[in-house]
């Protein structure tokens, strides 16, 4: 077996550390024969995926589910009055819990933050061109909820171009989705220092602090939100609503 096959496979299975990955990438750039082997590896994987997809399509298209999935069957006639009451009580409890959850959701500042991110940043907008650009691929990965790939791509762009505010913002949003609030705050912090026509850095940082909710976060978020409002920064329209929840 060629050593390169294992080496290439390790790269694409994320088994190399960052130093080794860099060496691999540099070798692709300088060693044409090696780059050719990488191209063959990728082409082979794609051809295999294509074959697999064709097999699955055939299988899914033609076969019907013949076996019934076994699930516990509850006979209605065997239910006692007691079990009926038990069901009603359980339903009432569930209703109570759900209403409490809804109340909690709408009232707390913490949930305002997570709702805001869910409503506004569940998906990122694509442009219809440059499908192979790292930013676009990062956005695709983000929208596919493949946050590990997304963060790698956005961080890559941000390293190559530290003035790319979108890459920094998207990296922050991806860290937020991964619940890595400390890294998200770090990114929004960098964003807030950038000279932009409309900068959402402070507002996003405040929301992330509310979501993290560590000791002192809520107070720090309040100060930031007041700054967002007084300086009419991006997000200032939402500040009053959040401050009411304090």
């Amino acid at each position: 077996m060629s050593d390169n096959t294992e080496y290439i496979d390790s790269y694409f299975q994320y088994q190399l550390n960052s130093e080794e990955r860099k060496t691999f990438e540099q070798r692709c750039e300088t060693d044409n024969a090696f780059a050719n082997e990488v191209a063959i590896y990728i082409a082979s994987r794609k051809a295999l995926y294509k074959t697999l997809l064709e097999q699955k399509m055939q299988q899914w298209k033609t076969e019907e589910i013949t076996e019934k999935i076994e699930r516990p069957v509850i006979s209605m006639s065997k239910r006692t009055t007691f079990s009926k009451w038990l069901m009603y009580a359980a339903a009432a409890c569930i209703l109570l819990v759900v209403s409490m959850l809804i109340f909690e959701k709408t009232s707390s500042t913490k949930n305002y933050a997570s709702n805001y991110f869910t409503e506004n940043y569940s998906t990122l907008a694509h442009t219809m061109d440059a499908s192979h650009d790292s930013m676009q691929l990062g956005i695709s990965a983000y929208n596919d909820k493949d946050f590990t790939t997304a963060i790698r791509l956005f961080e890559g762009v941000a390293i190559a171009d530290p003035n790319n505010s979108d890459a920094i913002k998207y990296a922050g949003l991806t860290y937020f989705q991964q619940k890595n609030y400390t890294k998200a705050i770090e990114k929004f912090n960098v964003l807030s220092t950038m000279q932009l026509f409309s900068n959402p850095g402070d507002f996003l940082k405040a929301l992330t602090l509310l979501e993290r909710n560590n000791k002192g976060d809520k107070e720090q978020a309040k100060t930031l939100l007041e700054k967002v409002k007084s300086e009419n920064e991006e997000g200032s329209n939402n500040v009053d609503e959040i401050l009411k929840k304090y």
Binding site: E6, V38, I40, M128, D144
Partner: protein, 190 residues
């Protein structure tokens, strides 16, 4: 209507269960295909292809624990499906000449940074792709089976169990030998 938790557990369970729950998953959201025809103006075959591709990507992500369960399966699958439909639309409208960019799945390639990717992409000519496809068909059944299992999201450990290899390491060596064999056929060295 089968619950998300049941589908997720079924897909992550053993081989027989997985096949069965793949079908359950497929049937449950099959109506997306109509949605693809209506919303994205795709023909049935394209919409079905986008649906199958989305379903397979979703299954592979689920079995590899890359689906974190923060949305329902329906929402998740629909997002992946929408992206696949957009990819197809883009391919049909703007990239008609670029026949070599046929597969919407480009995850492997995406791991490379931009500059390196450009170099490798240039080497992936349509001739190479046709060559790979042709030689893949001549590869032995055993090799094809192990490579397809890996592509389907099974780990080397799972493959070792399914194909009765002594260990994950043996399965990995066999898999890499098969890849090497395919490469040899393509380059004409084996």
């Amino acid at each position: 209507m089968v619950q998300d938790s049941e589908i997720l557990n079924g897909l992550k369970a053993g081989n027989g269960f997985r096949t069965r729950y793949e079908k359950v998953f497929y049937q449950q959201y099959y109506y997306f295909v109509d949605e693809g025809c209506r919303k994205y103006n795709l023909n049935y075959d394209d919409s079905f292809s986008a649906y199958s591709d989305a379903l397979l990507s979703a299954i592979i992500n689920i079995v590899n624990e890359r689906f974190d369960g923060r949305s329902s399966l329906k929402t998740y699958l629909y997002q992946v499906f929408s992206n696949k439909c957009i990819d197809l639309l883009r391919k049909n409208t703007t990239n008609k000449q670029q026949v070599h960019k046929t597969m919407p799945v480009a995850d492997t390639m995406n791991q490379l940074p931009d500059f390196t990717r450009n170099i490798v992409e240039k080497l992936m000519t349509s001739e190479l792709k046709e060559n790979v496809q042709r030689h893949l068909e001549t590869l032995g059944a055993k090799c094809k089976e192990i490579l397809l299992l890996f592509e389907d999201g099974w780990s080397d450990k799972d493959i070792a169990e399914q194909l009765s290899y002594n260990s994950a390491a043996v399965a990995k060596t066999t898999r890499l030998r098969c890849l090497d064999k395919l490469r040899g056929k393509i380059t004409g060295t084996k």
